[in-house]
């Protein structure tokens, strides 16, 4: 249906640049998620694509046509807002009809379209209701319906699930993913919730302070983060970081020593890493295993039991807290010492500038 291209897009507010040159290709039928902490500029970027925010610099292309100065409605996009933004004085039918009416679609065609969409979204019995009479999930569906009836080239979602409770959010996530598979429309979705990003996206764009940190598939970001920021942001519970010193480098990777532990060979490209250099080792909670002969020792400070899994917060001798994921039946107790083994092939190394060293092996699902 549509291809969206961003060419060095910039946004300046009161002489302060908040989007610092974003270039991005969004392919037809892609489900792209912009994710990042609040204030990273992801919503601004989406609003610039929508046409609600002026573009200070660069080119925005939809289907190869520059649309920087095209009115929002003429860009062929539809947007679902965080607050749903339904027209409170109109009923569900009128809400969906508004855009079609303004576009001059004949009455019979409008009716047909709205009835069809309402049926697929299970809203057909609510057409005469005002938004105020609907539940949060139903309102959300009306907002989505209002976007679908317009048959847009690109769907834009601005944190659409953040106002829903946890159970409903999970359900809507599945519905949205199913809907995308059925409609096959290019979708740009903004969220601060990395779980939403991981579960729905074909491609995730991680933003920080108006700069794209990394673009890639969910598992590529998970297994091959480009830098410390992405490593820390993607994954829950977050990745653990430990200071290490390089002992030697070789073809099988870099041998590093933990502050109070044994050497560890991490399979990454050494590049120009020299011995005695300080690096940061990153390891995910599920890649640390309990092992009586493990290379590091710590003291359990807290136990979080989630049922299927247990998270142990372990204090290292130098005071750093790391999170270890183990199975739900683990009987760990607070203030007890514990020995841990790090799975070296799953470790990441970051240089002093926070950039990741390339791993020797690609994860089989990362590409």
């Amino acid at each position: 249906m549509a291809k969206v291209e961003l060419r060095d897009i910039r946004k300046t507010y009161h002489a302060e640049e908040i989007i610092k040159g974003v270039s991005l290709d969004i392919n037809d039928e892609d489900f792209v998620v912009f994710v990042g902490p609040s204030g990273c500029g992801k919503s601004t970027l989406l609003r610039m694509i929508a046409g609600l925010e002026e573009i200070s610099g660069g080119d925005l292309m939809i289907d190869g046509k520059r649309v920087n100065d095209v009115e929002p409605a003429k860009r062929g996009l539809a947007m679902v807002f965080q607050s749903y933004a339904l027209y409170p004085h109109m009923n569900v039918y009128q809400n969906m009809e508004f855009g079609l009416k303004l576009a001059g679609m004949p009455e019979a065609e409008r009716r047909q379209k709205i009835t069809d969409v309402a049926k697929t979204l299970q809203l057909d019995t609510y057409l005469k209701h005002k938004p105020g009479q609907l539940s949060g999930g139903q309102r959300q569906r009306v907002a989505i319906g209002r976007a679908i009836v317009r048959n847009p080239k690109v769907f834009l979602f601005d944190e659409p699930l953040s106002n829903l409770d946890a159970a409903l959010r999970g359900q809507m996530r599945v519905e949205l993913a199913t809907l995308h598979r059925r409609l096959k429309a290019t979708t740009i979705y903004v969220t601060h919730d990395q779980v939403e990003a991981m579960t729905m996206a074909d491609k995730i764009v991680v933003l920080q302070k108006g700069v794209v940190e990394q673009v890639g598939s969910p598992l590529e970001l998970y297994h091959h983060p480009r830098n410390l920021f992405v490593a820390r942001f993607i994954g829950s519970p977050p990745m653990n970081f430990l200071p290490v010193t390089v002992r030697s480098t070789g073809t099988e990777g870099i041998t590093v020593v933990l502050d109070h532990g044994n050497p560890l060979v991490v399979p990454v490209l050494p590049n120009d890493t020299a011995a005695a250099e300080s690096l940061t080792l990153g390891i995910r909670p599920e890649h640390i295993v309990l092992d009586p002969n493990g290379e590091i020792e710590g003291i359990i400070r807290m136990v979080e039991r989630l049922g299927a899994l247990t998270l142990l917060h372990v204090a290292m001798p130098d005071g750093t807290l790391i999170i270890v994921q183990t199975d739900g039946d683990h009987g760990g107790e607070v203030d007890h010492p514990i020995r841990l083994h790090l799975l070296a092939e799953n470790c990441h190394l970051f240089d002093a500038g926070g950039m990741a060293l390339t791993k020797l092996m690609r994860h089989r699902l990362a590409d």
Partner: protein, 217 residues
């Protein structure tokens, strides 16, 4: 009995003046776009403009009586209904803009943006989306300025004599050099209060909401 016709024309002029200066005369017509632009597209000077508008209400009207009188005289608007309507409209405009501004501020911006995404132009955005949402506020603004116009006495007394004299001047005429006509004065005053009282009774809910809207969540 001689004052009966005068009274009737006085009332009708009062109605004319208070109605004309409102929806017809255009205080709302001027106020809505002004409040819209200030509420949704605030610039560097918006705050200052709003305060300046309010400050005109703080000025005692007598301070500008001479220039206003002279302007009215040279434009032949002295003692005309239209002249009084214009003055009433202008003196109420700041309050109308202020009230509409606070009401518009309460309307969630994403709803207007949704309208824009749906293809509404500026006029459709205001008339189909914004105004219905702010209708209670607009109604209470209209009502309040109606009351203010009805009660207005200073400009009526000073800018009209016979042709355009509304109720206020008519009532004031009972306190004349020949003496105070207490009975007639009381009757006329009661009569003057009655319409607003009844009106206010029916719309008190809206009115209070209008005056305190936005003050507390």
């Amino acid at each position: 009995m001689t004052y009966l016709p005068r009274r009737i024309t006085g009332i009708s002029r009062s109605i004319l003046c208070s109605c004309q200066c409102l929806p017809r005369g255009g205080a709302l017509l001027l106020g809505v776009p002004a409040a819209y632009s200030m509420a949704f597209f605030p610039g560097k000077r918006t705050r200052g403009t709003l305060l300046w508008m309010l400050s005109t209400r703080m000025l005692p009207p007598v301070g500008v009586l001479v220039p206003v009188y002279l302007i009215a005289k040279s434009t032949h608007l002295l003692d005309t209904v239209i002249g009084l309507a214009i003055i009433n409209m202008l003196t109420n405009l700041p309050i109308i803009v202020w009230m509409l501004y606070t009401f518009f501020k309460e309307v969630p911006v994403p709803i207007l943006e949704a309208g824009r995404m749906d293809g509404a132009n500026r006029w459709q955005e205001i008339s189909i989306v914004l105004l219905p949402l702010a209708l209670p506020g607009i109604a209470s603004t209209a009502l309040l300025s109606l009351i203010l116009c009805w009660n207005e006495a200073f400009w009526s007394l000073n800018l009209t004599s016979s042709n355009a004299a509304p109720l206020a001047s008519f009532i004031a005429s009972f306190s004349s050099p020949e003496g105070l006509f207490f009975a007639k004065l009381s009757a006329a005053s009661t009569l003057a209060v009655a319409p607003i009282l009844i009106f206010g009774w029916f719309s008190q809910k809206q009115l209070v909401r209008g005056l305190t809207f936005g003050a507390v969540k």
